[in-house]
């Protein structure tokens, strides 16, 4: 036990050393005043947004595509990219100071920002358009936006419309950032995007729900009917209009070009960073909830997968050839498909209409993968017990069943359990992809915190330690079981 604790500390120290050493000051101070100055530079931006398609056509610019605003800003801080381009309102002043990043200039272009809806969902779109037009006309929209940008008092909530709808408004945000849309205290969503949608839900008599996903997954969710509205300070572009419908615009946005503000990086102490990442807005609750979600998915998938795995093992050892072939075919299928792809197919295609929650779909998907590894481990563990053991049991007068349970199984268990424990740990780690179907597990919790605090080290370090401890616990429990 002391050995594994020592190993744990060693790993943490290594990771910390690694991360602190590479947080350099980047390239020299640059004078970037307009689009012409961007030539020859590396620009970081969120994958799939307007700037991605715009600058990917310019050969004199290298693009560094990231998944979130925080990663984009981090790229500039680490010197991987020279300029980070996003909405002008994108980076809160506090974060700019913390990262040592400043706004170099504001672009000339202006964009209409709107909500995305599934193509052909005209009923909802007309509803939303009517609401947006109404609040634009009476000045509520301006008041909402200035509330989030300048801190003016928030306007009152609208009265429900004359003919209220029932049900839940499922929103997916591809952005977790002040002041647009962010997860704040009490696991609640804030920012003007969220505020407008919340008011729309209240106005139309629906319940409000919001999940966080990257833009690509969010659009898939929208098109497969998993959610009703996607928001992320989305610009209306022709390209996007081919695959989604947009509401009327609710905001006009300008691009902001951010660069390193040399020497202005505010060095926070470790205590301040821990406080920022864990205490502020009760962010530790995200971690705890994520941890519980990860444990739930892992444990239930292990249990279900082990039951299925026993079946797979029985098929592999069957006397009937077609049973063995079927089991092997299943194995070839499971081994040949990445777990993430299987998870997405299960969620968006196979079980899309089943009404099962993402957590249940994740448990089923992981159990299907685990069934094969567990089944083949059981099979080879049983095969590794010499045939003579069975013969000796039979020759003493035990029935074939008693021979298996009393003599073969205990020996197979000893041989198979270490491998089985390894597979359990592998399963635990592979659950970190469930964020793709909007489940807030441990990894996604760290993403959410990271995208708010723009601190790469602390949240990653915390989840690393937690995964490590979980893996260690799995092995510990299984070893205790073996000793018994």
């Amino acid at each position: 036990m002391t050995k594994s604790i020592f190993r744990l500390f060693f790993c943490i120290a290594l990771l910390a050393a690694c991360l602190s050493s590479c947080s350099g000051d980047g390239k020299g101070q640059m004078e970037i005043k307009s689009e012409e100055d961007l030539s020859g530079l590396t620009i970081s931006t969120s994958a799939g947004n307007y700037y991605d398609s715009k600058y990917s056509q310019r050969e004199d610019i290298t693009l560094f595509r990231v998944n979130s605003e925080s990663d984009g800003a981090e790229a500039v801080r680490q010197g991987i990219a020279d300029v980070f381009v996003t909405d002008e309102v994108g980076l809160p002043a506090e974060i700019r100071k913390q990262l040592g990043i400043k706004l170099a200039f504001i672009g000339q272009e202006s964009f209409d920002v709107a909500f995305a809806l599934q193509k052909g969902n005209d009923a909802l779109r007309e509803d939303l358009d009517r609401f947006l037009t109404e609040i634009k006309a009476d000045g509520t929209l301006d008041a909402i936006i200035s509330h989030w940008l300048e801190g003016t008092p928030a306007p009152e909530y609208p009265a429900p419309a004359s003919a209220p709808k029932s049900g839940t408004l499922h929103c997916t945000t591809a952005m977790n950032m002040e002041p647009t849309c962010f997860l704040g205290e009490g696991d609640e969503w804030f920012g003007f995007d969220a505020d407008i949608l919340k008011r729309f839900a209240a106005w139309s008599g629906r319940d409000f729900e919001m999940h966080f996903q990257d833009l690509g997954s969010a659009i898939i969710a929208l098109n497969t009917g998993k959610c009703d509205i996607v928001n992320a300070c989305l610009y209306i572009t022709e390209e996007r209009q081919k695959s989604v419908d947009f509401s009327v615009p609710y905001y006009e946005c300008h691009p902001g070009y951010f660069v390193l503000d040399k020497g202005k990086s505010a060095r926070l102490s470790l205590g301040e960073r821990l406080k920022m990442n864990l205490i502020t807005e009760g962010r530790w609750k995200l971690i705890v909830n994520g941890l519980l979600e990860t444990i739930k998915i892992t444990l239930l998938a292990i249990i279900l997968g082990t039951i299925l795995g026993t079946g797979v093992c029985a098929m592999l050892r069957s006397r009937r050839k077609w049973m063995r072939s079927a089991a092997r075919l299943y194995g070839a299928f499971i081994q040949g498909i990445p777990t993430l792809v299987l998870l997405l197919i299960m969620f968006y295609v196979v079980l899309a209409k089943s009404g099962l929650s993402g957590t249940v779909v994740a448990i089923i998907s992981f159990a299907l993968c685990f069934a094969w590894s567990a089944g083949s481990i059981f099979d080879s563990a049983i095969s590794s017990v010499p045939k003579g053991q069975t013969e000796a049991g039979l020759s003493l007068g035990f029935t074939p069943l008693k021979t298996f349970t009393g003599i073969v199984f205990p020996q197979a268990l000893r041989k198979g359990l270490p491998l089985y424990a390894g597979e359990c740990v592998a399963l635990l780690k592979s659950t970190s992809i469930v964020g793709y179907i909007a489940i807030q597990d441990l990894t996604r919790a760290s993403d959410l915190i990271r995208s708010r605090t723009f601190d790469a080290l602390i949240p990653l370090l915390i989840v690393t330690v937690l995964y490590f401890v979980l893996a260690w616990l799995i092995r510990l429990v299984l070893n205790l079981f073996l000793k018994k």
């Binding site: 010499p386 053991q389 013969e391 000796a392 020759s395 003493l396 007068g397 035990f398 003599i407 020996q411």
Partner: protein, 357 residues
């Protein structure tokens, strides 16, 4: 007690070919008999044994145990196997249990005797096979001979009416064969019914009340050890029981490969466990070829070992002469004192000097 009628067993290989190992086996085994099954490799000795307790279900025929047809549908094999112990070539001790647990495991669960009584009996049995010191160790740490003795104790713990021994010493180092055979000798003396597949001819002759000589998938000859070993009826039996191993060299001139003979002798002695004879044999061959028979060429030189008689001999054969080529002097006199016997005899084609080691 056990009656076998027209038993046959055919194996179907995955490639579609078939192999008939047992053709038509018939025999009756009575209580108290000690039967050794001998015969060349691949004639179905082990298959017969494994068919009797249905570990290898026969293709056709009948097996009756205590008046019941055990091949009948729905027959409870486990009940029959409780009174029919089995000792395997590869021991098959339960690796996850201690020596004592190996012995008590079945009686506690199948005979429903108390744990303490089973332990007591197991200790008694371990004492009998000379391993009471090893009660608490795991099979891993035992030698082959010790493992086989534990396996015998494990079979005895079920108080079987008969024990089947499937080549119990074939997987053992030559040095460990003796300890297992002496335990089996003791059991035979106590009147246990035993059915033994073995290659230990002397042992089979000493302890058996009956011998089955198996050949080509049937019991070729069945009789007392005396009948089988001294007066076999069939020529195949005769050839088998008098099994003689040979090594022959033709020596034509002075340039023969002496080193080849030397290595050959070493390997021969190693193979038939005759290491004690190797040194003397080597000295005598050298003395004969380079001194006493120095000028006698060509000659044929042969090393023979009769397994059954336990006789090792060196033959020097010279063609076309009628008198012994061995001179009678002080040196050859001294040679006689170092071996069991020297026989000088004329043969149909010449003269032979046979030296018994």
């Amino acid at each position: 007690m056990i009656s076998i009628k027209h038993l046959s067993k055919t194996f179907h290989n995955p490639d579609g070919s078939t192999l008939t190992v047992l053709k038509d086996v018939n025999c009756d085994i009575e209580k108290g008999e000690v039967i050794s099954i001998i015969g060349p490799s691949g004639t179905g000795k082990s298959t017969l044994l494994r068919a009797i307790n249905m570990l290898e279900p026969p293709t056709s025929g009948e097996i009756w145990v205590d008046g019941e047809n055990i091949m009948a549908k729905g027959y409870h094999l486990d009940k029959m196997r409780r009174k029919m112990g089995m000792v395997f070539q590869s021991f098959n001790l339960f690796e996850h249990l201690s020596v004592l647990e190996n012995i008590t495991y079945a009686p506690v669960r199948l005979l429903k005797i108390s744990e303490s009584q089973a332990k007591e009996e197991a200790m008694e049995l371990l004492k009998k096979v000379g391993l009471s010191q090893k009660a608490d160790v795991f099979p891993d740490s035992l030698s082959g001979g010790q493992k086989q003795r534990v396996a015998i104790a494990r079979a005895l713990a079920m108080h079987p009416e008969v024990i089947l021994f499937d080549e119990p010493t074939s997987a053992l180092d030559p040095t460990m064969v003796g300890e297992v055979l002496s335990v089996m000798r003791q059991l035979a003396k106590e009147g246990l019914t035993m059915l033994i597949v073995t290659h230990e001819m002397r042992f089979a002759r000493d302890i058996s009340t009956r011998i089955f000589f198996m050949n080509e998938g049937i019991i070729y000859e069945d009789g007392t050890p005396e009948q089988i070993f001294e007066h076999p009826v069939h020529s195949a039996t005769k050839a088998f029981v008098n099994r003689i191993q040979k090594l022959v060299y033709q020596i034509d001139n002075e340039d023969f490969d002496y080193l080849q003979i030397h290595t050959g002798l070493n390997q021969f002695c190693l193979k038939y466990n005759l290491s004690d004879k190797a040194r003397t044999g080597y000295e005598i061959i050298q003395e004969m070829l380079f001194r006493h028979l120095k000028n006698v060429r060509p000659l044929t030189f042969r090393i023979t070992y009769a397994e059954l008689a336990g006789e090792t001999a060196l033959d020097f054969m010279v063609e076309g002469i009628t008198e012994s080529p061995l001179p009678h002097n002080e040196a050859t006199q001294q040679l006689r004192s170092r071996v069991k016997d020297i026989i000088e005899e004329p043969t149909s084609r010449g003269f032979r000097i046979k030296i018994l080691l």
